[in-house]
Subunit: 657 residues, 2 copies
C-alpha cells in the first residue's frame, strides 16, 4: 500500500500554452501501487533524499557558496556544467514535493522541503547582479562569459535552471527559483539575438537544452519573448556558428535534417525544444521535421531497449543500422531525452506510436539506468557484457556506480521518475487517452467537467487492466482511448457483457477507442496478450545477425551469467524450436517474471589449440553441424533488472546457431 | 624494372646483440620488382620526399627552430609528441638512403640526403645542454620536465629519436644524430631509476616506446647500461606508477598479463621492447609472457586484416572476441607495431606463425593505411563503411587525408616500407629462412660464407615462387626453409626433377625445410595453392555472425560500392553455393586480381512502411524465405586498395542469408 496519499499536482512538465496547436492536452494520473509505484518509492525514499549529500560531497553546493562569497576554497568538479546536477535535483525534488499534500509526506516531506529551500537560497546567492549564473565561469574563467559557446555549456546550464524553476513554481506555487531563472533568461535575452537585433552575440550553445526550457518559461509566465528567443536558438543550429560539427548539432539545420546525428542527448534535447516550438507556433515545416526525424531515428538508430547513441567516442548516434551491443552507449540521459521528446510529439500529433516508444524506453533503456534500490547508477547501458570483460571503471563503466564525475544521469533519472505521472495520460475534446497502464487514477476534464478513470493492473507481469469510470459528466458522452501497444499481437476487451477483439474493436493510430456514454462504475477490462516472444532485427542491423531477443509485453529480457549454470554466456546458443516458458519469481530482483528458454553450449576450440580464429567457411559449417550439444535451460530476466547482483557477463541478443 | 639498383644496407631494424638468445638472425633482401617494389617506389618517390614540406607546414620543424632560438613565434601543434613525426621521418629517410648506393639514386638521393642532414641539424640545435629534448615542454611548459609522465610523452619522444638515430647510423655510418640520441639517453639514465638507485624519479612513460629503442641503442653502441635501463622501464609497468590504468599499460605487469589490453599501440610497443629484452637477456619468464600474450591477441583480439584495437574511445583493445567492423579502430600505427613485435618473436622463437601474422598485416591492415599513390592516409582502418555513412572528418575519418593533426601514422608507414627488406628473411646455423616472398635476392652468410637465393614471383597474384641458388659455400650443406603460409591449404614444390606436396614434404613449425647440399643454379619452384576462398570467424566474434569474408592467398577482399551495380552494400547477400571466380584487372587500382562472387539484394521494407525495425523472429524467417532475390554479380577488390576511388560504402564481411 502507498506510504502516503498521493495528491494530484497542479501540473507537470509540458504545460501547453493557450495558443498551442497540439492534438492532446497532458493530463494527470496518480500512481497508487504496482510496478512504477515501487520504482517511484525507491526514487522518493532513497535517490532523491541522498541528493543533497552527494551534491555536497561532490562540491556542487560548495561551488555555489564560493560564487556567493560565503565560502572559501577551490572550485570542485571537472566540467562547466556541474551546476546542472543541482538544478536537475531541484526539479526532481519539486515534482516529488508536488505529490505530497502539506503535512502528509511524513518527516521526509518536511526535510525535503527544507533541503529545496536551502539549496534554492544557495542558487539565488550565487547569481550575478545582472542575472548571469554559472559557477565555473564565475570562479574559474575570471568571470569571462560566452567566450567558448561550443564547450562552455552556459546556456545549457541556464536551461536546466529554468526547467527546475518552472517545476518548482508549478509544484509549489512559489517564486524564489522562478525569479532567479527569469533574471537569467532576461539577461540572456539582452545578449543573444540575430544580427541586427541589437544583441551583441549571434550564437547558440554547443549543448542544446535552453530551447525547450524557454518554451516552458513562456508557458509558465506568458512572456512571448521567451518563446521568441527559443525560436531564435532552434533556428540558428546548423549554420556553422559552432564550426559546423554534427556533435554540436551544427551541421544541418533542424528543418532540413533527414536523420538524427551527433551527440545523442544534444540532438534529443534540441528536438524536444523544436517540438515545443512547433506545438506553440503551429509551424508546419518544423513539425514535419520533428516527425520525420523521429521516424528516421526509430527506424534506423534505436536499440531494442529504446536506448539511443551508438558510440562511446563523442557520445553520438552512429550511422543508420549501426547498433552495437557491447559498445552501445545508450546514455541514460538519452533515454530520458527521448521520452521527453516523444511525449511532446504524442501531444502534438495524437499518435500512439510516440507513447509506444516511451513505454519501451521507460521499461528498458531508461530503467536500467538506476539500481533497484535507487542507490547506484549506469551512465551507459550496453546490451552485452562479454565473458572476460575488463571494465575500465569510471563514468562509462558497465558496473553500477554510486555517483559520476559527470553526474548528469542520476538527477535526470530522479526528475523523470518524480514527474512520471505526467507522461501517462491526456485528454482532448473527445475524451481521455490512457498512454501507459498503471494501477492508479487517471483524471482530466472535458469542458470543465471532471473525468476520472481508475485502473487496476499487475502490468507488466500480467496483461489485464481493469478500468472503472469514477467520475464523468452525466450528459456528455466521451471516448475512452486505450493505447494498444505496438508489441501486442492480440488483445481482447470486455465492456459490460460484451467482449471484443481485433476483429470487431479495431485500432486506429494505435488507439482502441471506446465511445461513451459512460456512467460512474462502468467497467472495461482490457486484456493484452502477453506471450513471451522471440524477436529478430531488420537484417541491416549487422550486430545482431543470426540472433534473437526475448521479449514479453513491454519488457526486453537478457541473460545474466549468474542465472545460467556452468560458465559464461559467449558460447550459449538459444534453441528457438522449443517453446518459451514463463515463471514469476517473487523472490528474485524485487519480483520479476522470468522467461525460460532451451539452449545449449557450443563446443569451442580451446584457445591453445590454434592462434587464428578465422578459417574455412565450409569447415565451420561442418563443425557446427557435428557438434554434440550440451543442453541448457536459459533463464532470462528483464533487462531493467540487470547489474543488480554480482558482476558477470550479460547479453540481450542470443545466437540461434 | 627498378629505377635504381638497390644496394644492400649494412643492417636494418633489430640487429641482435652478441649475446642474444634468438633462434634466428635477421638477414637482408633486395626487393627488385613486383608487388612490394611498387609500394616501396611510391614510398620512396612520393611519401618520403613530401615529408619535409609537410613537417614544415605543420610546424614541427618550426618548433625545433623555436627551441634552438633561431626562430620566433608560437609553438605549433596540439600534442606533446609532435617531435616524433620528425624522428619517424628521419628513420624512414635513413632506411631509404641505405638502399641507394652513393650517386645511384639520381637527383632524389642527393636531395633526400641534404634534407636529412638539414633536419638532423635542426634536431641537434634544439637539444638542451644536458641532453634533454622535447620542444613542447621546452617551449610550452616553462621547461618543466617529467611532471606529467602519464601524458607528457617525453620518454616516448626520446624513444623515437633513438630509433631514428640508430637507423641513421646503421644506414649511413654517420654519428650526428646518434650523438644527440646518446646524450638524451644518458640524461634519462641520470633521472630515472628504481628507488635506491640514486636517480630522482622512479617512473615510466604513459606511452611505451623507449624500451625497444634503448635495446637497439645497446645493440648499436654496446653499452650495457642502455639495456639495463630498458629492463627497468619494462619491469615498472603494471605497478601503479601511472595510476594503474590499462590505457597506460599500468594495470598488470607484463610478466603476469594474460591478454593484451589498453591502448593498442602502447601495448604493442611495450611488448616489442619486452621481446627485445627477453631476446638479449634470455629471460624465460619474460619470453613466455610475450609468447602467451601474442597468442591471446591473435586468438581473441585480432581482426581478419591483422588490424588491432577495437575501440575509438581510448584507442584500446576491447574484450576478447569484441571485433567490430564499422568501428574497428585498427590504427595504422598498431599494425606497424604488430609487425615490429611479431618480427622480434619470429627471430626469438624461430616459429613461422609470427611471420604468418606479419604477412597478413602487411598485405591488409597495414597497407590500407596509405593510398596507392603514397599521397594520403588512413589513421583508422575500419572493415565496413555503411551506406549513408556520415563521416566526422578529422584524424579518425574513414576517408583518406593528406596529413593528420596527430600525424603519427604517415611517417610510421614510411619507415616500415623503407625498411621492409629487413623483415623478409633470416639465417641460422642450419641455413636460410625465407619469411616473405618477393621478387629479389635473399642473402646472408653461414659461418662467414655468403649465401644468396634469387626469387622470382608474381606473388600475391600468383602462387608460384621460383627460387634459384646464386651463392653457396661449396662444401657446406645447408637448409633452405620456406614458410608455408598459415592460409595455404595445399602446396607443391619442385626440386630438380622431383615434385613434392604435403604428403612427402611436410611442414614443421610452419616451415618447409629443404636440405642441401646446394650448388649455384639449383632451382626450387614453390607453388602455393591460391584458390579464392570463403572464410568464417570463430562463433564468438559476434560482429560477423552469419557472414563470410573473401580471401585469396594473403589478401583479404572487400566490396566497394563503386564496383557493384545499383546502389549500396547493406542489402547485399553473398550466395556461398556459387563458386568464386578470379579475374586479374591490370587496369584497376594499379593492377589487382578481383574475386567475383554471386549474390543478391534483399528486398527490404521501405523505411516509411513502419517505424520499428524489430519484429517477430518467425515472421522474419518467413519473409526471408519468401523474398524474390535480385541476382547480382559481386566484385571484390583487395582490402588494401579500398578508398582509392570515390567515397562510398565498403564491407569485408558479407552476410550469407
Amino acid at each position: 500500500m502507498p506510504r502516503t496519499r498521493l495528491a494530484l499536482p497542479a501540473t507537470g512538465p509540458v504545460r501547453l500554452g493557450p495558443d498551442a496547436h497540439a492534438a492532446l492536452l497532458p493530463a494527470t494520473a496518480e500512481v497508487q501501487s504496482g510496478f512504477w509505484y515501487a520504482r517511484r518509492e525507491a526514487n522518493a525514499s532513497t535517490s532523491i533524499p541522498q541528493g543533497p549529500g552527494l551534491l555536497e560531497s561532490a562540491g556542487n553546493l560548495h561551488n555555489l557558496r564560493l560564487a556567493a562569497g560565503t565560502a572559501e576554497g577551490e572550485f570542485q568538479g571537472a566540467y562547466p556544467f556541474v551546476d546542472t546536477d543541482v538544478y536537475k535535483w531541484l526539479e526532481a525534488a519539486s515534482w516529488q514535493l508536488a505529490q505530497w499534500a502539506p503535512g502528509e509526506g511524513g518527516p521526509g516531506t518536511a526535510r525535503l522541503a527544507a533541503d529545496v529551500e536551502r539549496i534554492i537560497a544557495l542558487v539565488a546567492g550565487a547569481q550575478c547582479g545582472d542575472g548571469y549564473l554559472n559557477t565555473w565561469f564565475q570562479l574559474r574563467e575570471g568571470g569571462e562569459r560566452y567566450r567558448d559557446l561550443r564547450w562552455g555549456h552556459e546556456l545549457y546550464c541556464a536551461g536546466h535552471l529554468i526547467q527546475a524553476a518552472v517545476a518548482h513554481h508549478r509544484a509549489t506555487g512559489r517564486d524564489e527559483l522562478l525569479d532567479v531563472a527569469r533574471r537569467f533568461a532576461d539577461h540572456i535575452d539582452t545578449v543573444f539575438g540575430p544580427p541586427g537585433s541589437g544583441r551583441p552575440i549571434d550564437g547558440i550553445d554547443g549543448h542544446p537544452e535552453i530551447e525547450t526550457a524557454l518554451v516552458e518559461l513562456y508557458r509558465e509566465t506568458g512572456e512571448q519573448r521567451y518563446l521568441k528567443l527559443a525560436g531564435y536558438f532552434v533556428g540558428r543550429y546548423g549554420h556553422g556558428l559552432l564550426g559546423g560539427e554534427a556533435y554540436c548539432q551544427d551541421r544541418v539545420p533542424v528543418r532540413e535534417a533527414e536523420n538524427v546525428e551527433g551527440h545523442a542527448v544534444r540532438q534529443l534535447y534540441l528536438l524536444a525544444g523544436a517540438t515545443d516550438l512547433a506545438t506553440e507556433t503551429g509551424e508546419a515545416e518544423l513539425r514535419a521535421a520533428t516527425e520525420r526525424l523521429w521516424q528516421a531515428m526509430t527506424t534506423t538508430k534505436t536499440h531494442i531497449t529504446g536506448g539511443l547513441g551508438a558510440h562511446h567516442d563523442k557520445e553520438d548516434f552512429g550511422d543508420p543500422f549501426e547498433l552495437p551491443n557491447e559498445r552501445a552507449y545508450c546514455e541514460t540521459c538519452a533515454a530520458i531525452a527521448s521520452i521527453q521528446w516523444s511525449w511532446r510529439l504524442a501531444l502534438l500529433t495524437g499518435q500512439a506510436r510516440y507513447s509506444d516508444l516511451i513505454e519501451r524506453t521507460l521499461f528498458n533503456g531508461f530503467l536500467a539506468g538506476v539500481s533497484l534500490d535507487g542507490e547506484s547508477w549506469l551512465y551507459v547501458n550496453p546490451l552485452q557484457v562479454r565473458d572476460g570483460h575488463t571494465d575500465p571503471g569510471g563514468d562509462q563503466s558497465a558496473r553500477r556506480t554510486r555517483w559520476f564525475r559527470c553526474a548528469c544521469c542520476p538527477p535526470n533519472v530522479m526528475r523523470l521518475l518524480a514527474g512520471l505521472e505526467h507522461y501517462l495520460s491526456s485528454t482532448d475534446t473527445e475524451g481521455i487517452q490512457i498512454h501507459q497502464y498503471v494501477t492508479g487514477r487517471y483524471s482530466g476534464d472535458l469542458d470543465g467537467a471532471p473525468v476520472a478513470v481508475r485502473a487496476d493492473t499487475d502490468y507488466p507481469w500480467q496483461g489485464t487492466v481493469t478500468l472503472t469510470v469514477e467520475e464523468t459528466p452525466a450528459d456528455r458522452p466521451w471516448t475512452l482511448s486505450l493505447r494498444i501497444p505496438q508489441w501486442c499481437g492480440s488483445y481482447r476487451v470486455r465492456r459490460g457483457a460484451r467482449t471484443y477483439d481485433e476483429s470487431d474493436a479495431p485500432v486506429t493510430d494505435g488507439w482502441l477507442r471506446l465511445e461513451g456514454p459512460w456512467a460512474p462504475g462502468d467497467r472495461v477490462v482490457l486484456e493484452l496478450g502477453l506471450e513471451a516472444r522471440l524477436t529478430a532485427a531488420d537484417p541491416r542491423v549487422d550486430a545482431v545477425r543470426g540472433c534473437v531477443a526475448i521479449e514479453r509485453g513491454p519488457l526486453v529480457y537478457c541473460l545474466e551469467q549468474v542465472d545460467q549454470p556452468g560458465g559464461g554466456l559467449d558460447d550459449i546458443v538459444i534453441d528457438t524450436a522449443h517453446p518459451l516458458a514463463v515463471k514469476h519469481r517473487p523472490d528474485l530482483l524485487g519480483g520479476v517474471t522470468t522467461v525460460v528458454a532451451a539452449g545449449h553450449r557450443r563446443r569451442l576450440p580451446a584457445p591453445a589449440a590454434g592462434w587464428w580464429p578465422y578459417g574455412s567457411a565450409d569447415a565451420d559449417a561442418g563443425a557446427e553441424a557435428a557438434q554434440a550439444a550440451e543442453p541448457l535451460e536459459l533463464t532470462a530476466i528483464p533487462y531493467y533488472a540487470w547489474a543488480n547482483r554480482e558482476d558477470g557477463s550479460m547479453r540481450v541478443w542470443l545466437p540461434t546457431s
